[in-house]
Symmetry: C2
Subunit: 472 residues, 2 copies
Amino acid sequence: MGGRAYRATVDTDRLAQQLSAVVGPDHVLRDPALRASYETDFTGRYRGRARLVVRPADTAQVAQVLRRCHAAGVPVVAQGGNTGLVGGSVPTPDGGEVVLSLRRLDGIGAVDTAVGQVTVGAGVVLSDLHRRVAAHGLEFGVDLAARDSATLGGMIATNAGGERVVRYGTTRANVVGLEAVLADGTVLNRLAGLPKDNTGYDLTNLLIGSEGTLAVVTRARLRLVPRLPERVTALVGLDSLEAALDVVARLRLLDSLELAEFFMAEGLALVLETSGLPAPFRTAYPVYLLVECAGRHDPAEELAGVLDTAGPGETAVALADADRRRLAAYRERHTESINAAGVPLKLDVTVPLAELPGFVADLPGVLAGRGRPYLFGHLAEGNLHVNLLQVAAEDEEAVTGAVLERVAAVGGSISAEHGVGRAKARYLHLSRSDAEIAVMRSVKAALDPAGVLNPGVVLAEDTALFGRDFRL
Amino acid sequence: MGGRAYRATVDTDRLAQQLSAVVGPDHVLRDPALRASYETDFTGRYRGRARLVVRPADTAQVAQVLRRCHAAGVPVVAQGGNTGLVGGSVPTPDGGEVVLSLRRLDGIGAVDTAVGQVTVGAGVVLSDLHRRVAAHGLEFGVDLAARDSATLGGMIATNAGGERVVRYGTTRANVVGLEAVLADGTVLNRLAGLPKDNTGYDLTNLLIGSEGTLAVVTRARLRLVPRLPERVTALVGLDSLEAALDVVARLRLLDSLELAEFFMAEGLALVLETSGLPAPFRTAYPVYLLVECAGRHDPAEELAGVLDTAGPGETAVALADADRRRLAAYRERHTESINAAGVPLKLDVTVPLAELPGFVADLPGVLAGRGRPYLFGHLAEGNLHVNLLQVAAEDEEAVTGAVLERVAAVGGSISAEHGVGRAKARYLHLSRSDAEIAVMRSVKAALDPAGVLNPGVVLAEDTALFGRDFRL
């Protein structure tokens, strides 16, 4: 917060000149029309105003940009594909920040097949990485719906999750080293990718998930996994969430489970209405489970072995790619179908599996009529995407608070995979104790004493100092 | 280092009284005979003198002990099974520290089979954990030779590696949350075990591998993996390390590889001499590779598919447990066989795979006759255990420096899995840049401003202030 007092004295012309000397004048954007796409997030919910947008080409330029902003006391918001949902990658409305776009750092290094690793720039788009490594019989273990826009730098800054966490973990588990630049321009480089390296504190994991508040990630060394040739997908209609959780618990004992998604009757009805897809089964079920298993051996038999004892319900199994995609579409089309029906209030939470059926049953009571819930998500991790339609603008804050408080009360997390950003900074105390927040603040002060990296993200600023509050 | 100046004024009698009131008089050890086993490490190489040894029973007692030591400015060395090899868990020779033994925190919680997790106390011994979870068809992914003594707390503090890292990662990858106590007695609790939880900085990973210098781990939530029923082990004699690395690179593309160990002709000769085991093959080979694959399906065929094209050499394959153990013994008996031949200087390093054959070929030149090398280790990660016999006491420091400098020169890590401890603190700059060490010092100052937690471990103290230097 110390970096805020002298903002009024910053000479933006002079800073723009300095930064132009670093990155070239074409890559310092001042024109509001050119800045616009960097100032508004993916959902349109968060709009800010950048002092400048700067687009460095490499790590050395990032370091120089940060050094100059730090010297000028100007806050910096690092931005990748800008696909976040919590307002962590856009500037605030008061226009004080420089937006540091990492998208030009888009180099993909040679794929090291001997150790199964590759080094990528922060600006590499996920689907480009997928394509590059597939040619070597390898895969990157993280995949998510925003794959055509999300950058690896942003995924690392937010520890992105996605659909395959049950097998490969979150982004954290798939990063073996980072290069990053501290607030003052100091470069930390840890890209050797050594799988065993116990030489002091794990700064890589400290930076992963820190949402641009401790350092700016410029490159990453990623772990790759073998591409598995045999794959089977199944959609199961079930009577209850308890039944779905029971199936997942038994599938987890196989070594082939890769995906365990769920959705519910209300969401499927919306999908069928919007998409024109045929209903998956003749009967409607309260809960649907979409699972995928993969391996070097055909996992269909072991999957069938579990599903055959799944209790009342129906199962559709697909082996061919087109058929698998057809089943997956019922889950994947939820987001667009919900968006077609209105602008949802989206909350992304984890609920402990044992508490999950009770949480879902109690949700209407928590909402008390202030919104219509559509639930889907990653059942293996208890990760619910709570989409609420028809929430009145004046109820949004109260509804958000009520849902997140219930999540916390049952021992869950108020942010499963989207991060805290600015949107949830005020609710952080629901998931982290005062002692943890105090340690986080001391770590922030240790790495960014001037407080110039993404202020107000993760750790709420004193709004009296910060000026205008950033509304959820 | 601020905590050191007033050590002379500490009233040990008074402190012992205060700590007795917390843990009971039977668990504050002052008698040198009772203290002895806590003051000497596993190898006998590190011997110190504790002011007191304190054995709390639970987290609340740990917090009170730390609060009182903090108030008195007395440094604390946390200790688990005391199986470390780098002097990180024993007091210094000057006798200023309280040794905080965590062994009584040995509770194992209910095994949660639905999510595959269990909560354990820091003092739980690894083999006890293995036995407990096996009954549920599950395993803990980390295994190592010291399994009958090593505690989970110590494994977490040092991010223990072991033999199955190629499949399950190091301890870090198998811990989903921690409870830990800060230097001032503040308890951090993060045991919910939520697999997706992006709510701020990852303090759990910051503490893992911090070797008792940032906080004292009291409990951990662990990830468990399915126990795989089908298992095959093979021993392969090969002409070169290059050939062995080529086999490992191809095995890595299977999803069943669990272990890839190597040893060399010199080590095998010592093992055969000491153990009386028969030679594994009629011919002697320069390099031996021990691999294991496991899965739900018998992996023998896919393993054979790779080994059949492994080039000149011989292969022995075993499926039955007794036969598999017979093959593994050639690797496992290295440590005892080397110890039987003398007191080795042991260095534990990672070398990038591409550099590994060159590093091994150059080693005699680096040693320049000052010791006889026996190499073995975890080939999939380039983790070499360099055991040197016949190093003269006056050469130890120079030899250690020369080997670690060569490791650093080829881009390796000076500590693969044993940690930095006191032994390698002076060499930390070989693996971490000045910028990284500066960040580490700022993090240490943020979490332990009085510097009472394991001072001199990981980050070297100013020896002028510290008094007596702790010799390697």
